[in-house]
């Protein structure tokens, strides 16, 4: 999938993600059966390895710029504005600019980056 095709999917992804996060955050639940890795979720939604890793045969770190091709951090912050006890996507450390990879991993289980310092921030991270 080239960049142009990605653009076409972008809107779809944005809606999908908003719904997905809506279920997770506003419902306060993260159903056990959804605990798959994000790479599988991305693959199910038509994102191929080479869409992120330009050379799919070479293992390379992916910069956050790739995430931003489909995900808008400002929209994301709005979507999670009601999350308690605080909005993870609009915070005092990074505003809306936190690197997605701090929490959301693709090929290993995601982590709650806030938790080591803020014990009450018990987010379930997709």
């Amino acid at each position: 999938m080239n960049t142009k095709t990605l653009q076409k999917y972008r809107f779809l992804f944005a809606i999908g993600l908003t719904l997905f996060l809506g279920v997770i955050f506003t419902g306060g639940l993260y159903a056990a059966e959804k605990k798959g890795l994000l790479d599988a979720y991305h693959a199910e939604n038509g994102v191929a390895c080479a869409d992120c890793h330009e050379n799919e045969n070479k293992r390379e770190a992916v910069s956050m710029v790739k995430c931003l091709e489909c995900h808008d951090v400002e929209e994301l912050a709005k979507a999670t504005a009601a999350v308690q006890p605080t909005n993870p996507h609009l915070n005092r450390h990074y505003n809306t600019g936190a690197d997605c990879n701090l929490c959301h991993h693709q090929h290993k289980t995601s982590e709650n980056f806030c938790l080591p310092c803020h014990a009450p921030f018990n987010f379930m991270v997709p």
């Binding site: 770190a61 450390h93 990074y94 505003n95 936190a98 803020h118």
Partner: protein, 563 residues
């Protein structure tokens, strides 16, 4: 510049001489070390942000340095391969490049711009970042000269006489002007800020009988902090023409054939390198290295088990200055570990019974909170301890020194279990509890109830005897814990900052291993050395840390702009 060099080649002071002798520099190299990629992969050196550590693995012939005694190989600080011009997407030229948009970098940038320089700030984060609330300076007009010198002497003592007195004096004689300037310029950018004057400095209004008055900036109350203040100051700086580049971590300094620093290469989020050339100088204000495990393990192993208060302090500037020829202060760096959030800050230094994480008494509680970390370094305690007192504390501790009591109603503001709305605190960090039994309190504090009960019983016996046979605390500071409700503040000291760094002269210019200035390279903030030197950051002057950052930013910006 030639003036600087002449000055620095004159007699070298004791502090500088010691750092040159015992500090760490590139003077001795190990080259082409057969260092395995796996070993390098563990270092977490970033830049050098953690994610880019693998870059170092590609080189089979990496240059390392070793410590002054030749014994330790600093393999966690491999010199990166120079980034080729062909990899540079864009080159921009300014007069001054400031790396780091924090409490020293933003003032430096604004100060340089106000003095006519074209300035760029490269910031790793998506925004300016800073911590704390209070920043302090001395009001020269209303202070005795002898008082200023007495305070400098007091700070020298706090620093275990291991600092550069010239740098302390530079803060002492310029901080009033600088802090006032920060207050004014931050307010112009929309900050909520006030000058609290001498009010917070009640313990040092008189030193050795001499009078002192202060300028004390306060960005608060929490959750509003100096971070918000510095972001407002950055707005003023932008209006003054400073160009900010966010998400732009510096990777390497650019040096010419004479080893003069004349630029910085940074990497944007798009993965592309940009070269920022500096006509006058590069000011490194990148902060400390508390999030770089390998650097901490080597330079300050005491911190191994403590939590960190900051993020992304990976020592980028530390490594860059070092590879440009700078000298790192000798091992045993000064640290700052506090907890002003779990309970009232004004009660943190009051000598209530203190027990460690399991519930055992561990120290003469007259020891300052800023030093408690030295008794809680093991993996079990990891900085956790509890202040314990009973229902009568407002009367039994009424005349104790070291703070101000907050009445029971006010303590509720720090109790996560109490439903009252909270004000002026970080809600995710409050950790004060009350209970009707000692067992219940022990559970709330996370202590072993039996150990906790035995410690309280023993302490009450010592109080009744009027002699602290276990730790020698003065009898008048011994108040028993026997009347419900019982109170406990579960504090957890974590690393605010590490405040030792690179050897600099009075112009904040980096010196090399020969004691010569490195042309074009300036180091300020917590990356700068020579200002502390003790085991821990002293709490003698509230807000000394930020006051020093503002002052040295203000002065170095002006100095470099005028070159």
């Amino acid at each position: 510049m030639s003036k600087d060099t002449e000055k620095d080649n004159k007699a070298v002071d004791q502090y500088t001489q010691n750092v040159l002798q015992n500090g760490i520099s590139r003077r001795s190299f190990l080259s082409c070390t057969a260092m395995g990629a796996a070993g390098i992969g563990l270092m977490g050196l970033s830049g050098f942000s953690g994610k880019n550590a693998e870059a170092a693995q590609e080189s089979h012939c990496t240059e390392f340095a070793r410590s002054s005694d030749g014994g330790a190989t600093l393999n966690f600080m491999p010199k990166p391969e120079p980034i080729e011009d062909s990899d540079i997407a864009e080159t921009l030229t300014f007069d001054v490049i400031v790396v780091g948009a924090g409490a020293s970098g933003v003032p430096a940038a604004l100060s340089a711009a106000e003095n006519g320089a074209k300035v760029a700030v490269l910031q790793k984060h998506p925004m300016p970042v800073s911590q704390g609330n209070t920043g302090s300076g001395i009001d020269l007009k209303t202070s005795d000269k002898a008082g200023i010198e007495a305070l400098v002497a007091k700070l020298m003592n706090d620093n275990n006489h291991r600092c550069n007195p010239a740098l302390l004096r530079q803060w002492a004689y310029n901080s009033g002007e600088a802090v006032k300037w920060v207050i004014d310029r931050a307010a112009k950018g929309g900050a909520t800020v006030e000058d609290q004057g001498s009010k917070p400095q009640f313990a040092i209004r008189k030193v050795n009988g001499y009078t002192l008055n202060y300028v004390t900036s306060f960005f608060g109350p929490k959750p509003y902090t100096t971070g918000d203040g510095i972001r407002a100051l950055a707005k003023t700086a932008e209006k003054a023409g400073v160009k900010f580049f966010f998400n732009m971590p510096a990777s390497q300094l650019v040096q010419n054939n004479a080893d003069e620093v004349n630029g910085v290469i940074a990497k944007g989020r798009d993965g592309k390198y940009r070269k920022f050339m500096a006509n006058k100088g590069v000011i490194l204000a990148t902060g400390d290295y508390q999030n770089n495990k390998a650097m901490c393990d080597y330079f300050i192993p005491d911190l191994k088990y403590f939590g960190r208060k900051q993020m992304d302090r990976t020592g980028d500037g530390f490594a860059m200055a070092y590879w440009a020829g700078g000298v790192i202060e000798p091992i045993g760096h000064t640290k700052m570990l506090h907890d002003f959030d779990a309970g009232p800050a004004s009660m943190c230094d009051m000598p209530f019974l203190a027990v460690n994480r399991s519930g055992s008494r561990f120290v003469n509680e007259t020891v300052a909170m800023s030093l408690f970390n030295n008794y809680l370094r093991d993996p079990e305690n990891a900085g956790h301890y509890n202040q314990v007192f009973d229902a009568d504390y407002m009367t039994t501790a009424a005349n104790w020194p070291g703070g101000k009591l907050v009445p029971p109603e006010g303590l509720k503001n720090y109790m996560p279990d109490d439903p009252s709305p909270k004000h002026g605190v970080f809600e995710s960090q409050i950790n004060t509890h009350s209970a009707d039994t000692l067992e219940e309190l022990a559970k709330k504090l996370g202590c072993d109830p039996a150990t906790f009960a035995a410690s309280v019983k023993r302490y009450n016996e010592l109080c009744a005897a009027g002699k602290d046979d276990d730790f020698g605390k003065p009898a008048e500071l011994m108040a028993p814990v026997k009347k419900a409700p019982f109170y406990g503040i579960h504090r957890r000291v974590r690393v605010s900052t590490i405040c030792s760094g690179m050897l600099v002269n009075e112009n904040h210019q980096a010196l090399d291993a020969d004691g010569k200035t490195i042309k074009g390279l300036y180091v300020i903030g917590n990356l700068g050395g020579g200002f502390y030197g003790g085991v821990d950051y002293p709490l003698t002057v509230f807000g000394l840390s930020l006051g020093r950052c503002y002052t040295f930013g203000y002065m170095s910006g002006k100095h470099v702009a005028k070159l």
